[in-house]
């Protein structure tokens, strides 16, 4: 019975997925009804996840560990899922016949990511990451109409399967040097054999699969096309929820080496610098706001990596804090995009012109989100960057912090371009009015308050992430 309780959040999402599978078999679609069902189920899923957040235990022959680390990430992912589903009220970007499948795949993907953060056995990790990727491979090309965006589906698929092939090869090498696929045992064995080339190659290749999900430098090529080509809600899901899972798994995997390998730390530093610099520089010239956010997400993956590559619990806690802050501020920006472009088209930056007159509340949410992403106090984004840089300084990576600061300054430029469009530019033509219902207003206020509260009073959440980071070891 207790085992059953440990697995409750996942069971709940399985239930949601099953329900939408049955809905998808019906001949006459009922989009409004599906949306109500999805909101209710996701809200209940969030409540269940929060309620089981303090559970601990092992499941399935010790392959599956429920601890504070995994539960914190599960709550964040359930939160992101309900936000995305909440914004899917008018899913204009997807054919009405496919709405049930859309919700089905969102539930399956969240389930897979929840299983991913709890897995402590390489096979379970591989199966869950594939399950979540397969759902996303199908969600990305689901967009209606737009012929020219269809190619992003095949690009995402090809880069994804290549990354997972590299990851599997890496896992096989880890099995070869460690003689086990059980992560807690690998943590003990690997530092003693890390000097072998096979061990370090295996670990780096195994990380490739997660780098793909987080869009870190050599595996970032999919991000701009997929962000631009997928429908707005799917992009939001990829940009928020799926990043959480990737960050969690990189934290868990980077710890395997036990900090005994300077080569690996050097590699992570190089990847982090390359991601930050590349993402920020290319974002400067973007016109399509989703494409801009894709390059900004590559840069943010670099900042998260700074926290992780310190390989101590302070850095992991900072990276977790940063991931949570990123979820909030990124969703703020995406919610505004989805509301302003509620017919599902791709929003250009110039279309935001005069937003502060059309909808002052959305303009404020956008401003707070952008300030957070740029790292301006008093938002959570500033505190997150501060914590990450402080953790890196504690380890003596001064040059890394300086490069990070320079990058944060560069990024300010393109976030301010979007800000300028919303507040200072006059619209060249009349845009349709933005409809803001009660729940959107509520969400806007909630996001603004969360972003500022986390930024000004980070202590409670930070102590939670620190406890979670300690439960890793």
């Amino acid at each position: 019975m207790t085992d059953f309780m440990l697995f409750l959040p996942e069971l709940f999402f399985i239930l949601g997925a099953l329900l939408f599978f049955i809905f998808s078999l019906r001949k006459t679609p009922n989009p409004a009804g599906y949306h109500r069902w999805a909101v209710v189920l996701a809200a209940a899923g969030l409540l269940v996840t929060v309620a089981s957040s303090h559970q601990e235990g092992m499941l399935f022959f010790n392959c599956y560990r429920v601890d504070l680390f995994s539960q914190v990430f599960k709550v964040l992912m359930a939160l992101g899922t309900i936000w995305v589903i909440f914004s899917s009220g008018e899913l204009k970007g997807i054919d009405t016949r496919q709405h049930a499948e859309y919700y089905f795949l969102i539930f399956v993907c969240t389930l897979a990511m929840m299983m991913l953060v709890s897995s402590v056995e390489l096979l379970t990790i591989y199966v869950s990451i594939e399950l979540s990727s397969y759902s996303l491979y199908l969600l990305v090309p689901m967009r209606r109409g737009e012929e020219r965006y269809f190619e992003c589906g095949i690009k995402y698929f090809m880069i994804g399967v290549t990354a997972s092939g590299l990851m599997l090869f890496g896992i096989s090498l880890l099995f070869g040097v460690g003689h086990t696929t059980y992560v807690p045992q690998l943590i003990k064995v690997l530092p003693t054999v890390i000097s072998q080339p096979a061990a370090i190659v295996g670990l780096v290749l195994a990380l490739a699969g997660f780098f793909f999900k987080l869009a870190v430098f050599p595996f970032h090529i999919w991000a701009p096309d997929v962000y631009q080509g997928a429908c707005n809600q799917v992009t939001t899901y990829i940009a928020t929820v799926s990043k959480m899972a990737a960050a969690a798994m990189i934290i868990r995997f980077a710890g395997i080496s036990g900090g005994a390998s300077p080569a690996m730390i050097k590699l992570l530093i190089v990847l982090s610098i390359a991601s930050m610099t590349f993402g920020n520089l290319v974002a400067l010239i973007q016109k399509d706001i989703k494409r801009l956010l894709a390059y900004s997400s590559i840069a943010h993956a670099g900042y998260i990596l700074i926290g992780i590559l310190t390989l101590n619990s302070q850095g992991y806690a900072a990276a977790m804090y940063y991931a949570a802050a990123y979820l909030i501020m990124n969703y703020s920006v995406f919610m505004v995009i989805m509301k302003v472009a509620d017919d599902g088209h791709n929003l250009q930056i110039k279309e935001l012109a005069g937003l502060h007159k059309r909808s002052p509340l959305l303009a404020m949410t956008l401003m707070l989100g952008l300030f957070g992403l740029a790292g301006i106090p008093p938002t959570a984004g500033f505190t997150g960057k501060f914590l990450v840089f402080a953790a890196a300084l504690g380890k003596g990576y001064l040059y890394l912090v300086i490069i990070g600061m320079v990058n944060a300054t560069i990024s300010l430029y393109y976030y301010l371009i979007v800000f300028k469009a919303a507040y200072l530019l006059k619209p060249v033509k009349e845009y349709p009015p933005v409809r803001v219902d009660f729940w959107t207003q509520f969400m806007s206020f909630a996001l603004v308050i969360m972003s500022i509260y986390l930024g000004v009073f980070p202590d409670r959440f930070l102590s939670l992430t620190e406890a979670a980071a300690r439960s890793l070891f």
């Binding site: 390489l122 096979l123 591989y126 199966v127 594939e130 397969y134 491979y137 199908l138 090309p141 012929e147 020219r148 965006y149 269809f150 190619e151 992003c152 589906g153 095949i154 690009k155 698929f157 090809m158 399967v161 290549t162 092939g165 590299l166 599997l168 090869f169 896992i171 096989s172 090498l173 099995f175 070869g176 003689h179 086990t180 696929t181 701009p224 096309d225 631009q228 080509g229 010239i285 973007q286 016109k287 399509d288 494409r291």
Partner: protein, 102 residues
Amino acid sequence: MNSLSTYLIISALLFSLGLLGILQRRNLIGMLISVELLLNAANLNFMAYNRFLAPDPVVGQVITLFVMGLAAAEAAIGLSIILALYRKMHSINIEAAQKMKG
């Protein structure tokens, strides 16, 4: 001949061929086959390590079975996306799908 290094060399060759195929092939089906080569290289590694280094318990063989199943699912998804692409673009050449830039 019946030694670990033989199998490891074969799997490394398979892996390199697969990677080369993905980078160099222009036909989507060809790329999909190259990805299967990558997965099979990993499978061969698992079997060889299982046979020579860690025979008990048979973790390597179990993983290989799982990977075979997942590879089939992956091929199904990939082929369905390729089919949909063919209906829209009348080509399965990757160069037909390179209009997004910037």
